[in-house]
């Protein structure tokens, strides 16, 4: 894992103006990291990104990709090595999906079989059936699908670096969320170094390994999302990430890291007497009822246990107060407040109870 991308005091002044669109921007990016360039409009984030593949010329400073100075490279060759995904997708309407994806491999003169394989695997990666979609034309696809093809096209030449200019900007919020998740999954598989431009701080926090916050062309803070939320460098950063930055931080934790592993468990087959004992042992208001395999069956409240019946199974109530371990703390918090149990049951993929957590755990996590 070496440094993949390095910007060294990169400055952009548009000819005929004194204004520094990008002012001495420097940062380094490890291989496989996503770096989000974020900032208010006109802050120079897109300009900065476009200087990497030299769509904009560099006024001064150096950009290195894998140790090589981009200004010494042939622009055409350079651009073929960099995946590029733009805001409005920009699929070529005259080409089929397969042709669109194979543009760069064709430019790089790969052989036909390899290109074909590449198209198939990429369509698989972006979760579109190759047989069904490869011969369609862009206009026959929905916006979200087009965007996925756009990403696939960007990755087609297997570039070490990808540049993405607000790729999800034109998509409605529901689909955007979905696409973001899918994109993160794709990134898990392919591990590209990505420079990603957005104006949406929530997207930045969700997607980024590093966030690069710009204002008027100047770098304000370059940090991981967590660091930026926890230790905003100045008032501008604080304002930009928003007054609810603590809540936003909750997005960064998954439940499984925060949960406690000792939930007040009781088997459904256990007697009421035994259950009452367990309850007083834990000192909670509810017991988590599981079946023989440890799967969640429901909850049993203190009052239920005082009532009639022989086993816990007779008094158990179904409950929704549980979440999968991969969910974020934000969702957890919301769930806790929705139900009056005061805690939340954490289950794994099999619906097996793996732990629990309450507001105190969340507080503790934020403090750390």
């Amino acid at each position: 894992m070496g440094t993949m991308l390095k910007l060294d005091k990169v400055t952009k002044i548009y000819p005929g103006t004194d204004f520094r669109a990008v002012d001495e921007l420097s940062f380094e990016l490890e291989e496989g990291e996503i770096c989000i360039l974020v900032g208010p409009s006109g802050c120079g984030k897109t300009t900065a990104m476009k200087m990497i593949n030299r769509l904009h010329s560099i006024t001064s400073g150096k950009i290195y990709i894998d140790g090589q100075d981009v200004s010494s490279m042939d622009t055409i060759q350079l651009r073929r090595r960099i995946g590029y995904v733009i805001q409005n997708v920009g699929l070529f309407p005259n080409m089929t999906i397969a042709e669109n994806i194979s543009v760069i491999p064709n430019l790089l003169k790969w052989d036909k079989r390899k290109i074909n394989e590449r198209v198939h695997s990429l369509l698989e990666i972006v979760n579109l059936s190759a047989e069904e979609y490869k011969d369609r034309y862009p206009r026959e696809l929905s916006g979200g699908q087009q965007q996925r093809i756009g990403v696939a096209r960007g990755m087609a030449g297997d570039p070490p670096i990808m540049l993405m200019d607000e790729p999800f900007g034109a998509i409605d919020p529901t689909n955007r969320d979905h696409l973001q998740n899918e994109f993160l999954k794709i990134q898990e598989k392919v591990k590209k170094t990505i420079v990603f431009v957005t104006h949406d701080i929530d997207e930045a926090i969700k997607m980024g390994d590093k966030i690069c916050l710009l204002r008027d062309g100047k770098l304000i803070q370059f940090a991981s999302p967590e660091e930026m939320l926890t230790y905003p460098k100045n008032d501008f950063v604080r304002d930009f990430v928003g007054g609810d930055r603590t809540i936003k931080r909750l997005n960064l934790f998954s439940i499984s890291k925060v949960k406690r592993d000792d939930p007040p468990l009781i088997k459904a087959s256990a007697g009421l007497e035994e259950a009452r004992g367990t309850l007083s042992e834990y000192g909670t208001d509810y017991l988590v009822v599981v079946d023989e395999n440890g799967r969640l069956a429901g909850l049993a409240a203190n009052e239920d246990l005082q009532g009639k019946g022989e086993t816990v199974a007779d008094v158990v109530q179904r409950t929704n107060a549980y979440l999968d371990g991969t969910a974020s703390l934000k969702e957890a918090l919301s769930e806790i407040f929705t139900h009056d149990t005061g805690f939340l049951i954490v289950v794994d993929g099999d619906n097996k109870v793996s732990g629990w957590l309450d507001t105190n755990d969340i507080k503790k996590a934020l403090k750390d």
Partner: protein, 256 residues
């Protein structure tokens, strides 16, 4: 489904039936058929001249028109191209007879003859090149900047962008221009006779001059058929060479 077949039949079949009926009627009533058969060698010669006129001018106006239209979109032409477009737009509204007459009247000023095949070709070419230039220019200009940016960002060279992105995407509009241009060419070709350019116009104008409906019909019907044939061929050609991804869809076709 049946209604679709029916509609298709009505749409394609009805005009064909009407056309055939009109042709038979005209040929029968005025003895055009007999005239054509009697003068078969002349008929073939005139048809050949006519097709020659049409094909040569079409080749020139397509090649020169598309080239000029493309060049106008290149860098460094930003100031000149609006002027060319303005001229082209005005030029387009000049009547075909006017253009023929201008060729006859003005070519002598530059030392050429105003009579014969060459002035006819020049006149028809001048007349028909305008829509090709205009549509090529407009078509390439209308290719969205997003697509071009994506192409540049992917590392395409200027030629690659032109031939793989801009021209294929502009093709429906360019083809529209070529079809208009062809319609103008076949419409003007009969007039070439007036300045000695030959072609089937000979029979039409002779028929008019002699008030002989037979001769006139014998000329007019093949001219109309050639026009329809070219239009039909271009329609098929358009379907073949324009990518399905940028073809006008059914709704738009209906509007045309």
């Amino acid at each position: 489904m049946t209604s679709k077949v029916f509609t298709g039949l009505v749409r394609k079949g009805l005009p064909a039936i009407i056309t055939v009926a009109v042709i038979i009627f005209l040929y029968k009533t005025y003895g055009a058929w007999e005239y054509t058969v009697e003068n078969l060698p002349e008929f073939f010669r005139l048809t050949f001249e006519h097709l020659l006129l049409v094909l040569i001018t079409m080749c020139f106006s397509i090649s020169i028109g598309v080239t000029l239209g493309t060049v106008m979109t290149r860098e460094g032409w930003e100031k000149i191209s609006p002027v060319i477009m303005a001229v082209v737009n005005v030029w387009q509204s000049i009547p075909s007879l006017g253009v023929i007459a201008l060729a006859y009247g003005l070519l002598p000023f530059i030392g050429l003859s105003g009579i014969g095949m060459v002035p006819s070709l020049i006149a028809i070419f001048m007349f028909s090149v305008a829509p090709v230039v205009r549509n090529t220019y407009a078509g390439i200009e209308s290719v969205s900047s997003d697509i071009k940016e994506a192409a540049i960002g992917m590392g395409m060279t200027k030629q690659q962008i032109l031939f793989r992105i801009e021209l294929p995407n502009a093709l429906p509009i360019i083809m529209g221009g070529i079809r208009t241009s062809t319609a103008l060419v076949v419409g003007t070709a009969p007039l070439a006779f007036l300045i000695g350019g030959g072609g089937l116009g000979f029979w039409i104008f002779t028929g008019i001059a002699l008030v002989d409906m037979g001769i006139m019909t014998a000329g007019a019907v093949p001219v109309a058929l050639i026009a329809m044939l070219f239009d039909f061929l271009l329609e098929i050609g358009e379907k073949m060479i324009v990518s399905r991804g940028v073809q006008a869809d059914e709704a738009q076709l209906a509007a045309l």
